[in-house]
């Protein structure tokens, strides 16, 4: 028994190193060295050029904050829609429920660009094209289906019993949500936050069209560089790009600590 556990552990670390650690470290290494060429492949040439280029992009810092802000709002809206719709889909029975569930998945099935172009005209008429409001709304299109799906499954596995129990004990709905739903749904909420943030961060075309260049997110600065053969700059950009969800994740984890029953120093005995 011990042996297989140990075996499994080794296996785990081998997979982690091959699939995760090595690529990330290699990217980091690439961002500090000149592109590998057959003449130079034995000794790496250290360079700061990738990072210098990155920070000489004068819109970088601002774009990072814009991306962070838009991402955060998109995540919050997703949680609101996802939690309420997920709850309804998990616990209520009504006519046309399966149809509604299928409809919610539609935005992933229909090409996003087609939706965007149609929505753009409506947004121009409403006066929210070229604004961050429009960009937030269009980012909801590819994210909401995931949020609803994940949180619906979260509620389904939670079951009605514990929620009914709370109902019987009679706290107000908000308190019930904070002390029962939120802590127990934490894994589902965590995946929703991470997934929707990453999707929102990496939207290039729809942000460009709806934002019209007035809303410059990180994707707008970063994506044109994908056409570059300069792997040093590309690596530096990619790391910066990946850092954002990572930072956001840490922030969210810190926020989670504020929830009831989440004290990290309370260890299970």
């Amino acid at each position: 028994m011990m042996k297989t556990l140990r075996h499994k552990q080794i296996q785990f670390w081998v997979y982690i190193s091959i699939l995760f650690l090595f690529p990330v470290l290699f990217l980091l290494y690439k961002s500090f060295t000149l592109p590998m060429r057959y003449e130079t492949h034995l000794h790496a040439h250290f360079t700061m050029q990738g990072w210098v280029t990155l920070f000489s992009e004068n819109q970088l810092i601002q774009a990072t904050f814009v991306s962070l802000g838009i991402g955060a709002i998109v995540v919050i809206l997703n949680l609101i829609v996802g939690l309420t719709a997920g709850y309804a889909l998990a616990f209520y029975d009504f006519k046309g429920k399966s149809l509604l569930e299928a409809l919610i998945l539609f935005p992933i099935i229909i090409p996003l660009l087609a939706i965007t172009i149609g929505v753009h005209i409506a947004m121009i008429r409403l006066g929210i094209a070229d604004t961050w409001v429009g960009v937030v709304l269009i980012h909801l299109v590819p994210t909401i289906p995931y949020a609803v799906k994940i949180l619906r499954n979260g509620y389904t596995s939670l079951g009605t019993a514990i929620l009914e129990q709370a109902y019987v004990l009679g706290p107000d709905p908000w308190q019930r949500f904070l002390s029962i739903d939120l802590p127990l749904l934490k894994p589902a909420i965590r995946s929703t936050i991470f997934l929707t943030f990453v999707i929102s961060l990496s939207q290039y075309v729809i942000t460009a069209i709806i934002g019209g260049g007035n809303v410059v997110t990180l994707a707008l600065v970063f994506f044109p560089f994908l056409n570059s053969a300069n792997s040093t700059v590309l690596a530096a950009f990619s790391i910066w790009f990946a850092l954002l969800p990572f930072l956001f994740y840490i922030l969210i984890e810190l926020l989670f600590l504020l929830l009831p029953y989440q004290k990290p120093w309370r260890t299970r005995s």
Partner: protein, 411 residues
């Protein structure tokens, strides 16, 4: 009832906003506006230039040189936004359909297919080029390169900003004497299996490589350039090209089973030493690549004796630009000898100038002629001699479609 009234409110909002078109399109009457009035109106305004942003040399040229100069000379704030031209046109198209008269973009960088699309859909502001003092003074008004953009008549809707020519790059450590013709290239490819390939024609540069072959395949480049596009004409003149491509295919990189899908993929192969040649528009592109350590120091460039295709790229103003005076002033500045000289300089961009050198002052002529574009750039005379204009842009699509049938499915 409550729900119903909310629904009605939304409907009302949607329809009401559709009608609020601004009748005042604020176009400038050039006949009655002198250039100094235009620059005066442009004073302390902001000009938004939307352009492809994937090259740091170009970005730095705009941000570090052009923007401060415009501020200094005209008190204009230039705001660069990275955005692909196709997306810009998509945005303008929707705005046109929604009747939006006040846009957000003042200047766009455009040519070829995109220009044709923009012009045909009336996404551009009316002809303005011939009003620019710098264009009138320093550019050859009659030049065919400014009259047609990939076969589409320019009609003054765009002003020439730069020009590029297609060149091949090779590693002079591996190849002593680069091929001079496509026949020699074929022989070289056969002698050096796996050391050459070209990007898939879905890529802009890969498509240009095929167009060179097409010119060669026809009796003379003129028969392709001057005739309007027709499928029969294209098919008739392309037989030799397809057989050439099929002949070299087994000797290409990975035996031609896979083609790089973009030029950057080919550049990476070249950078790794997997292939010994790469290619691309912009005769000076190797300079940057060497400086950044992507290409080996021994990279040099060459053109075929049969010629090299070049094209001009332009600046235009969208129909709903909110600051047309500012846009005109900025474009005029970008066309000035000073701005063109700086653009030619390899420290930033290294892009060639469409300006007529002989129209410049003796001092400026001297500056242009003495500028060292770098050792990988062919002499100006050589480039000029081999220059071939672009054919009708319909060939680009035609080549994409037929290449798959003729070369890929023909295995």
């Amino acid at each position: 009832m409550k729900k119903y009234s909310l629904f009605m409110l939304i409907i009302l909002l949607l329809t009401a906003c559709g009608q609020s078109n601004n009748p005042n399109t604020q176009s400038i009457d050039f006949q009655h506006t002198s250039w100094s009035d235009i620059t005066q109106k442009a004073d302390s305004t902001t000009v938004n230039i939307h352009m492809w942003g994937g090259d740091e040399g170009i970005n730095r040229y705009i941000d570090e040189w052009v923007a401060p100069k415009l501020k200094e000379q005209y008190n204009i704030t230039l705001n660069r936004t990275p955005m692909d031209t196709q997306n810009i046109l998509q945005k303008l198209h929707s705005e046109k359909r929604a009747g939006k008269q006040e846009g957000t973009i003042d200047v766009i960088w455009i040519n070829g297919e995109n220009f044709k699309n923009a012009k045909n859909n009336e996404l551009l502001y009316r002809p303005f080029r011939d009003q620019l003092p710098n264009f009138k003074k320093y550019y050859d008004q009659e030049s065919l390169a400014f009259q047609y953009d990939f076969g589409t008549a320019v009609d003054g809707y765009e002003a020439p900003w730069g020009k590029v020519q297609f060149v091949f790059q090779y590693n002079s450590n591996k190849i002593e004497e680069p091929p001079k013709s496509f026949e020699e290239l074929k022989a070289w490819v056969k002698d050096n299996p796996g050391k050459f390939t070209y990007p898939n024609p879905d890529d802009f540069s890969g498509n240009a490589f095929l167009r060179h072959l097409l010119y060669q395949s026809a009796d003379s480049p003129e028969s392709i350039i001057e005739e309007p596009f027709s499928k029969q004409h294209a098919t008739k003149h392309s037989q030799e090209m397809w057989s050439y491509l099929n002949e070299i295919e087994p000797h290409l990189w990975r035996e031609g089973k896979h083609y790089p899908s973009t030029l950057s993929e080919l550049d990476r192969l070249y950078s790794n030493g997997d292939v010994w040649m790469t290619m691309g528009y912009n005769e000076a592109r190797a300079e940057h690549m060497i400086e950044d350590g992507v290409f080996p120091e021994s990279t040099r460039s060459f053109v075929m004796e049969s010629g090299s295709i070049g094209n001009t790229h332009f600046l235009a103003i969208p129909y709903n630009s909110p600051n047309k005076e500012g846009a005109l002033t900025a474009i005029n500045f970008l066309l000035s000898p000073n701005a063109q000289l700086k653009k030619l300089n390899p420290t930033y961009w290294g892009d060639n100038t469409p300006i007529s050198i002989d129209k410049l002052s003796a001092e400026d002529q001297e500056k242009f002629q003495s500028l060292d574009r770098g050792k990988t750039v062919l002499p100006g005379k050589k480039l000029e001699e081999s220059f071939l204009p672009e054919a009708d842009s319909a060939y680009v699509e035609w080549l994409k479609e037929n290449w798959k049938n003729e070369v890929i499915r023909n295995d």
